[in-house]
């Protein structure tokens, strides 16, 4: 006969309510961990998806995810020529916010290195990769776009041909993939009027100097599109990503590029480290502190509940001592109740959590490792929580059962 279970059955209502409460707390602890894992995973999903061995970015910047990095497109060819590099691609990434269906739509725009990369490597859940080098896009489902939906960005209209899941930028915005040309067109989209004004200004500047007057052709060129103008740079890319030959030492390739005064290079792991240290680290520590606090609060609440449950039982406990129940029976009664409460609360937290977390706006990634660790922590706090009650029960004298 298990006394702990008998007593719980006797005061079932209170026990169930308390267990639910503690369960919710544990769910929040679980969720906090999940939010952290989600942050890390979201931060790394793009870099991992791209699978670059080496990132080449603007000199002294921390790469396209941390800050603005602008590089000329010609850098792709320079990197491709470095010994050890099998292929180099342009990497275009930026965040835009536009109107769509009357609502603001924020998304990360990722340029794929068409035609080498059509998005086959993306976590597609519907549709297909890109099939033409213009006007198609693969959108993350978190953006709320449907397959076949048409979206006007800048001067062009793009059709959603594929959907991904959990492809989000480190800020949590869903990512849409375009060919890098399209991505740049979207980034550097300017209204017709501003282009006209810019050309007008160029023409005026050319007019002012001798060169413009003696070379009328220059004036013509100044009125044309920017990319035809030798003096003006083409639209910039964010980074160049390179894949290395298998077995090549990335640091060796890095060293050979260290002489280039216009770029900084990062290996894949270095890039991940930058990402985590930069945007995610503070959030991580914040969440960690919250988890510790919540765990302590759960332990304190459990201790108080177990303590009051024990106070209610002092008379029966004295009686048990009177009829000669050994100490381990009385300790077991309290400890088992604490453990039962802890484990049930954990189960409640798990069940509610797994149903609730998918509805959250950002990803809550609960890993088995984290679940196991939390189960261990729950065991420990259950034992700690019972100590106060056990201490009280030990001090009860058997003659308190009479009178």
């Amino acid at each position: 006969m298990n006394l702990a279970v008998r007593d719980i059955r006797h005061s079932l209502g209170r026990f169930v309510l308390t267990t639910l409460g503690v369960g919710m707390l544990l769910m929040v602890v679980m969720g906090m961990g999940g939010i952290y894992r989600g942050l890390v995973d979201d931060a790394l999903v793009v870099t991992r998806g791209v699978g670059a061995d080496l990132w080449v970015v603007q000199r002294d910047t921390r790469g396209p995810f941390a800050e603005v990095s602008r590089l000329p497109r010609s850098l792709v060819d320079r990197v491709a020529a470095v010994p050890g590099v099998t292929d180099a691609r342009e990497f275009v990434f930026h965040t835009i916010q536009r109107e769509h269906r009357g609502k603001p739509l924020r998304m990360g725009v990722l340029g794929l290195g068409w035609p080498t990369d059509k998005g086959e490597g993306l976590p597609l859940i519907a549709g297909r990769p890109l099939a033409q080098n213009h006007f198609e896009m693969i959108a993350d489902e978190s953006l709320g776009l449907g397959l076949g939906e048409r979206l006007r960005l800048g001067k062009d209209t793009y059709t959603v041909v594929g959907l991904t899941r959990w492809l989000v930028a480190s800020g949590g915005d869903g990512i849409a993939c375009f060919t890098s040309r399209d991505a740049q067109a979207i980034q550097f989209d300017e209204p017709g009027e501003s282009i006209r004004l810019e050309r007008e200004a160029r023409r005026a500047r050319a007019d002012e100097i001798d060169f413009g007057r003696t070379q009328p052709g220059v004036l013509d060129r100044a009125s044309g599109p920017a990319q035809n103008l030798a003096a003006l740079p083409g639209p910039a890319i964010s980074a160049v990503i390179a894949r290395l030959m298998p077995g090549t030492d990335a640091t060796k390739v890095q060293r050979s590029m260290s002489g280039w005064s216009d770029v900084t290079t990062y290996t894949g792991p270095q890039q991940e480290g930058l990402l985590l240290k930069g945007s995610v680290d503070r959030a991580r520590r914040q969440i960690l502190l919250f988890r510790v606090l919540l765990t302590i609060i759960s332990a304190v609440i459990m201790a108080l509940i177990i303590y009051t449950l024990t106070l209610d039982k002092l008379h029966p406990i004295a009686l048990l001592k009177l009829i000669g129940a050994p100490t381990h029976v009385i300790v077991g009664l309290i400890l088992q109740q604490s453990l039962i409460m802890g484990l049930l609360a954990y189960g409640v937290g798990y069940l509610i959590g797994t149903r609730l977390f998918p509805l959250f706006p950002r990803r809550v990634l609960v890993t088995n490792d984290d679940l196991l660790r939390l189960a261990g922590i729950v065991l420990v706090i259950s034992v700690l929580a019972s100590l106060l009650g056990i201490w009280k029960a030990m001090r009860v004298a058997p003659n308190e059962a009479i009178g």
Partner: protein, 241 residues
Amino acid sequence: MTDPLALETSGLTKVYGHGHTEVVALRDASMRVRRGEVVALLGPSGAGKSTFLLCVGLINPPTRGTVTIGGQLMQDGPRSLGDLRRFRREHIGFVFQKSNLIPFLSAIENVQVVGELIGRPTSVARRRAKELLDALGVGKRAFNMPTQLSGGEQQRVTVARALANQPSLILADEPTAALDSVRGRQVMELFRDVAHRHGTCVIVVTHDHRALDVFDTIYEMEDGLLKPAASPVAEATVAHA
């Protein structure tokens, strides 16, 4: 070879409090009880009867004096010798003035728990609990919780519990206060039968003079002083093996 006495107390004295709150509840109480002897303890309220039972039951240590049970010196003044809780669990059965059932256990579980505490298998402890409840006429209420039982039913469950470990010493403090006289007498007779059949020594505090013929020996207590009663039922005293 003579049997050791079932119970022997000598010079048992209990003083509660100190200074001007000091109460001498027990003065030099000495009692010798043979195996199978059924003893009644009479006396007015506040005489120290309950105090005597608590000292003999190894629950409250006496201020002075010794308690020897079955030839084993258990209590020497406030000094306890041996594992009292274990001894209580294995050798003593208690019934107190107010019924003292564990509220979260049903009637049968309240009895069964005693059997389990002394290491009987659950099924054995349960069967024995059912037998005891039947014998006391509360078998039908075996699965009720204590709060669902009347005062008398609760008291009978308590008696069943006191018998569950087949004790060598039963201490009962007004066990029949909540019972009608027929039931009360039945309980007393049950104690006597148990005592005579198993050699159990029984001490019952009672105010019910109608059932005194059941007892082998009668003691009276007054103001902490214990003495054998010069009672008209003395002829009921019979020697038992």
